[in-house]
């Protein structure tokens, strides 16, 4: 466990963002918050610059696609306080047809590639990103492959059976 408990961390955040965040839960002791795309950058910059919390390390930015929800794309931020050895996860749910969210490159240069990857695989557009283009897939690809909108492989196809490959 870190030097700060989740309660202290939550109280600290609540003083600033009381009504703008909701707690999703604490799976495996990892405090998980939900906020809106208007608040996210303020929240991240508060976490980073607060002299008490010092969440100076951005672990990851990624997304999840929930086709059954009203707001289908959940952008997930993981930040880590190297000083206090504590992590926090922040989720922002946005509309899948209009995926806009402000960029975190204003806070961490490391967010650049993470956001490019999230754009590449989920189609989330990070407004203000200096160079938002695909990073993993070919540039002329039109799909966002990690979205759950593609049919699964035809179970009846026979052209890739194991015995063709000596397996």
């Amino acid at each position: 466990m870190g030097k700060i408990t989740n309660e202290e961390l939550l109280n600290n955040i609540n003083t600033q963002f009381g009504d703008k965040i909701t707690v999703i839960g604490e799976p495996y002791g990892l405090l998980t918050l939900q906020t809106s795309k208007e608040t996210i950058i303020d929240l991240l910059s508060f976490l980073k610059s607060s002299p008490v919390l010092q969440f100076i390390y951005l672990t990851d930015i990624t997304a999840v696609h929930y086709p059954e929800q009203e707001l289908t794309i959940g952008v997930v931020y993981h930040v880590h306080s190297l000083v206090n050895n504590i992590r926090v996860r922040i989720k922002v749910f946005i509309d899948g047809n209009n995926c806009h969210i402000p960029t975190a490159t204003t806070l961490w240069n490391g967010a650049n590639w993470m956001e490019r990857e999230t754009y590449d695989l989920f189609g989330v557009i990070f407004d203000g990103h200096p160079d938002l283009r695909r990073i993993l897939n070919v540039d002329d690809m039109t799909a966002f492959p990690m979205r759950k909108e593609f049919p699964l492989e035809d179970p009846n196809r026979v052209d890739k059976k194991d015995y063709f490959f000596g397996r």
């Binding site: 993993l136 897939n137 070919v138 690809m141 492959p145 890739k160 063709f164 490959f165 000596g166 397996r167």
Partner: protein
Amino acid sequence: MSDIQIVGAPAGVEGAGFFATSLDKAVGLARANSLWPLPFATSCCGIEFMATMASHYDLSRFGAERLSFSPRQADLLMVMGTIAKKMAPVLRQVYLQMAEPRWVIAVGACASSGGIFDTYSVLQGIDEIIPVDVYVPGCPPRPEAIIDGFMHIQELVKTESTRRRETPEYQKLLASYGIQ
């Protein structure tokens, strides 16, 4: 009698003090026994190829002593491993930079057909972008299989006419890949 094996002479007319054969056969013999490969190794098949190059299997026995990582003077493009769609233009450029005559061997399931990576980001076989002479099956193929594929290439090279590259069929094949 030494047990060193040397390449046998091609079919020809033999007499006292002379030996006559066709230029095709002589050139084929020379080319087949000094194939210079360009290993394009992207994954596990490449590791298997390293074993093929090493002392136990010793690919150099076939005159393939100079493994070049440059298209310059290379005859045989050996593609070993998964070729992602993003890698495809690079592979094609390497092929285009090789001088004729050139041969291509696709080693392993991935290079031959995409293998287990039946997905949006992987090229489903390098024959979608460049012509292939020999496919080596296996996932990964053992060094013996790679050597077998190599010897199949040698057979092709031996029996190929020196004029094959000028034939309309060959030009048509290259044109079907958009290569002039």
